[in-house]
Symmetry: C2
Subunit: 204 residues, 2 copies
DNA sequence: TCCTCCAACTTGTCACTGTCAAGATGCGCA
DNA sequence: TGCGCATCTTGACAGTGACAAGTTGGAGGA
């Protein structure tokens, strides 16, 4: 898909692809718009027309990331049992797995100051990914978290657990704990997620 | 403490102070060594002599941050009850509070690619802060996490909870959850930390 | 007291960055 | 065929980190 003429054809997609590759090779802090352009074989300010500025490109990449985050949760759920508990655990594991597979993208999505937060617009990828988690929680608690405070605590607990595990895992801090290599990772994650479930089910 | 002569006197400390101010005003990604130098009233490459490069200055700032993180945990523990449960909860709340008070510094410490990880040197500020948490866990479980797997799961659970809450809080995502404003923050945090405690004490 | 050394700091330069303005190109449509 | 305009290029500017070479002045020895 090399550039054949003055007009690229699908420059926007090519820039996104090169952008994600560069992001995963370096990090958000070493990201360079000019290098993305160069790797795409295009002039240094070609991206501006499609994304405005560097923040625009990073925001587009983050949006793509949120779609994949949700997809990863769904994928794990498909391969899991059908009970509400198993589904929620699978959801959390998909969340963590996504972070482990795309750490730079995960960091971009959640901790970069250079992505534009889209206000509180509806149906935006970050909202949709979050809503997926909310739905899973609602299924298990049988109540809407925005109304039922037990479900709300469950929602926050599950999200915190997933997000915290993701952060500590991709920073290498989890595996740097002395003695942690003796713990089975799958069992650990399942137990931690289950610790947030309603107290009627004594987990494990 | 203006510069009075060719030799500054305590330039290193002045640069660290200006560096942290700049960090909190912008973020890691917009941090500029030259601006730090300018605000300190010194030439653009004066910092190089004390810190080598930008990574050196940021690493020094991060180390200072880890000392304060530990201090914040200790401070909360002093104001809490003396039981092992209360002490561990206080530790976690000090962790989260530190992040909320110095979000940019917290991000620098945990998610920046520009701070040099000091290998596995002993008695370095990050290790000492982590060890403080380990000690609290060991106190409550009555076992060394590096040997006892229950204590290890507790350690990881508590750390994940603290770190996850810190991340979600300073990114504004916790308070953006619809309906979350009805939850009492203190009670929420305490309940979430307690959910990781040994099952013999049914928490809350 | 003077002298010398050298850590501390400055000045100048380089390649690289993001952004903006102005120009070139060629696709699609009338 | 020829025109309009989205698409892309070229050029310029201020800001960045890093490096090399020069300047300053305090501390310690004779």
């Amino acid at each position: 898909m090399e550039k054949t003429s003055y007009h690229h054809g699908d420059l926007r997609a090519a820039l996104l692809e090169a952008g994600e590759r560069l992001l995963s090779e370096t990090s958000v802090e070493n990201f360079s718009l000019r290098r993305v352009a160069k790797e795409t074989g295009v002039s240094h300010s070609a991206p501006a027309h499609h994304f405005g500025d560097v923040s625009g490109l990073l925001t587009a990449l983050a949006d793509e990331g949120f779609k994949r985050l949700k997809a990863s949760m769904v994928k794990f759920q498909r391969e899991a049992g059908t009970s509400a508990e198993e589904q929620l655990i699978a959801s959390g594991r998909g969340y963590v797995r996504f972070a482990e597979e795309s750490p730079a993208l995960f960091r971009l999505m959640f901790t970069s100051q250079r992505v534009a937060t889209n206000g509180d617009a509806e149906n935006t990828p970050p909202i949709l990914a979050f809503q997926h988690l909310v739905d899973d929680v609602q299924e298990l608690w049988g109540a809407d978290p925005s109304i039922n405070s037990d479900a709300m605590v469950g929602l926050i607990g599950c999200w915190t657990m997933a997000h915290g595990l993701a952060e500590l895992s991709i920073s290498g801090r989890l595996s740097s704990i002395r003695g942690s290599e003796k713990i089975d990772r799958d069992a650990l994650f399942s137990a931690l997620f289950a610790s947030q479930f309603p107290s009627t089910s004594p987990s494990k």
